[in-house]
C-alpha cells in the first residue's frame, strides 16, 4: 500500500531510534503526550515504546471520541432505539460501550432495538430514504475529522427534503481538550502535569490545519509536532519534539506535511460552521465538564437535531469511584497505577473511558503491552535452567 508501507519500515525505524537516542540528553527526562487515540494505537500495536530510550516517555491522552463519550449520551441513543422505536445508526466503535442498566447498544439490539452499524453517514441517509415511514437517527461521534461528514449528511438531508432523518450530535473539539488538560482545576488536585510537549493529531489537523495549535503552543510554552499516523511518523515527531525541548523552543511543527497545511481544509471548515455551533459546555468522560469543547446543531437545522426532535432527558452517569481515568488522561498516573486495572476493569468489562476502546491508554496497554508488567517477576534462574 503506497504511502503506508514506506512509513512502517523497520530498518528506517532502527535509524530513527538511534537518532532519538543520540539527541535525547541522558540527564533529562522527556514526557510527551500523544493526544490522538490513533497514535496511541500505533504506538502500542507496533511497539514503538520499545524503540525509545528509557528517558523518553509517552503519555496517552484522551483523543478517542468513543472513550470520552459519556455513558449518559449512549443511554440517550439506547432510549431512542428502545422507547422511540427509531432506526439507530452508528459507527461500529460505539456498539460495545457499556451504558446504564447493564446495557450497551449491542445488548439493546438483542432486546429488540433496531440498531444498525454503518461505515459512513451516506449509509445512514440511504436507510432513511429506504424507510420513509420510520424515523432514522444517526449517532454522531468524533473529533474534527469526523464532523464534516456529519455536516454534509445534514445538508444533504435538507436538500432532499428528508422528513425522517436526524442526528444525535456528540462531536467534540481537540484544542479545547488540550487546553483543559493543561489548565483545569483538577491540575491542582493531581499536581502539575509533567508534559514537555504534544504530538498533535494527524487527521484532525488535515481539517483544522496547524494554525489552531499556534496560540496554544505560545500560551503554554509547550512544543507541538503534528504527526502522521504511521509509526515512523510518530518516531520522527518524537525526534522533533526532543530537539525543540533541547533548543528551548515551543513551536508548532508539522511532520505530516504530506496531508496537513497551515489552513487545513477550508471547504470542510465552512461546511461545519454552516451546520454546527459551539456548546457552552459538554461533559467529557474522564475529564468532567469542559467549556466550549463540543458542537451542537444550529437552530436553523432543528428538524435534523435529535435532541430537539425527541424529548430526551440527559442524566449524567458517574464512573466507578476507583477509576483513575481522570489522572491517567492527564498523564499523572499510569494504567498500572489504577487499583482496578486488569482485575475488575478489562476490555470486556470497561469501568472508565481509558479502557472503553482499543485506543484508550488502559485498553492499549492491556491488549498489547501488559506482558511487560510481568517481566520483573520472571526470575533469572529460569533462563539458566532452560
Amino acid at each position: 500500500m503506497k504511502y503506508v508501507d514506506e512509513f512502517r519500515d523497520g530498518d528506517v525505524a532502527k535509524g530513527l531510534a538511534a537518532a532519538i537516542a543520540v539527541e535525547a540528553k541522558r540527564a533529562r527526562n522527556y514526557s510527551f503526550m500523544e493526544f490522538c487515540g490513533g497514535h496511541t494505537h500505533a504506538i502500542s500495536r507496533y511497539g514503538v515504546s520499545d524503540l525509545l530510550p528509557v528517558n523518553v516517555r509517552m503519555i496517552h491522552g484522551p483523543g478517542c471520541p468513543v472513550c470520552v463519550l459519556p455513558i449518559g449520551r449512549i443511554d440517550l441513543a439506547i432510549r431512542l432505539a428502545l422507547d422511540h422505536g427509531v432506526i439507530l445508526t452508528t459507527y461500529g466503535d460505539t456498539l460495545r460501550v457499556p451504558a446504564s442498566g447493564g446495557l450497551s447498544l449491542l445488548k439493546a439490539k438483542a432486546r429488540g432495538g433496531d440498531i444498525r452499524m454503518v461505515y459512513s453517514t451516506a449509509d445512514a441517509l440511504k436507510i432513511a430514504r429506504e424507510h420513509p415511514q420510520r424515523e432514522v437517527v444517526f449517532l454522531a461521534i468524533g473529533f474534527e475529522t469526523t464532523t464534516p461528514p456529519t455536516a454534509l449528511a445534514i445538508l444533504q438531508a435538507r436538500q432532499e427534503g428528508l422528513k425522517n432523518f436526524s442526528v444525535l450530535c456528540n462531536h467534540v473539539l481537540t484544542p479545547s481538550a488540550i487546553t483543559h488538560i493543561l489548565e483545569s482545576p483538577e491540575v491542582r488536585q493531581y499536581g502539575t502535569v509533567p508534559l514537555d510537549g504534544f504530538i498533535g493529531p494527524a487527521h484532525v489537523s488535515t481539517v483544522i490545519g496547524s494554525r489552531p495549535y499556534e496560540h496554544f503552543a505560545e500560551e503554554y510554552r509547550k512544543p507541538v509536532v503534528i504527526a502522521g499516523f504511521e509509526p515512523l511518523d510518530v518516531m520522527q515527531a518524537i525526534r522533533m519534539l526532543v530537539r525543540q525541548v533541547n533548543e528551548g523552543r515551543a513551536e508548532v511543527e508539522n511532520e505530516f506535511s504530506r496531508a496537513v497545511t497551515r489552513d487545513g481544509n477550508l471547504k470542510a471548515q465552512r461546511l461545519v460552521s454552516e451546520v454546527f455551533e459551539l456548546r457552552r459546555s459538554f461533559e467529557w468522560r474522564g475529564l468532567g465538564e469542559v467549556p466550549y469543547s463540543a458542537l451542537q446543531i444550529r437552530p436553523r437545522f432543528a428538524e435534523f437535531d435529535a435532541e430537539r426532535r425527541y424529548t430526551l432527558t440527559y442524566l449524567p452517569v458517574p464512573d466507578n469511584r476507583a477509576c483513575e481515568c481522570g489522572a491517567i488522561l492527564r498523564g499523572v498516573k499510569k494504567p498500572q497505577d489504577c487499583k482496578i486495572f486488569g482485575t475488575v476493569c478489562t476490555p470486556e468489562n470497561p469501568m472508565g473511558s481509558c479502557m472503553v476502546s482499543s485506543e484508550g491508554a488502559c485498553a492499549a496497554h492491556y491488549t498489547y503491552g501488559r506482558y511487560k508488567d510481568f517481566v520483573v517477576k520472571m526470575p533469572a534462574r529460569r533462563e539458566a535452567a532452560a
Binding site: 503506508v4 537518532a19 459507527y91 473529533f143 475529522t145 464534516p148 493529531p201 525526534r239
Partner: protein, 77 residues
C-alpha cells in the same frame, strides 16, 4: 482516533462521488469535501469521505527526513 487511509482515486463519477483503490481494494467514496481532484491523485479517506489530497512531494521529503541523522553538536551530553 480517526482511522484514515491514503488511497488513490481511480474513478470520478458525477455527484461528488468517486472510487478509490488501496492496495487492490476499491471503494466508492464521497469527494464532496475537496475540490480539484483528478484520477491518479492520492487522497486521505475517513468514514467514506476524502478529507484532503496527499502531496507526493512532501511525502518524499518526509521520508528523506527520516533517514537524516541528527546534528552532530547535540551528541555531546
Amino acid at each position: 482516533m480517526c482511522l484514515a487511509l491514503p488511497a488513490q482515486v481511480v474513478e470520478i463519477s458525477g455527484n461528488d462521488l468517486g472510487v478509490v483503490d488501496l492496495g487492490g481494494v476499491r471503494k466508492e467514496i464521497s469527494l464532496a469535501l475537496i475540490d480539484d481532484v483528478a484520477v491518479g491523485d492520492y487522497v486521505i479517506i475517513h468514514v467514506g469521505y476524502a478529507l484532503t489530497k496527499l502531496d507526493p512531494e512532501e511525502a518524499a521529503k518526509t521520508l528523506a527526513l527520516f533517514a537524516e541523522m541528527g546534528p552532530v553538536e547535540t551528541q555531546i551530553q
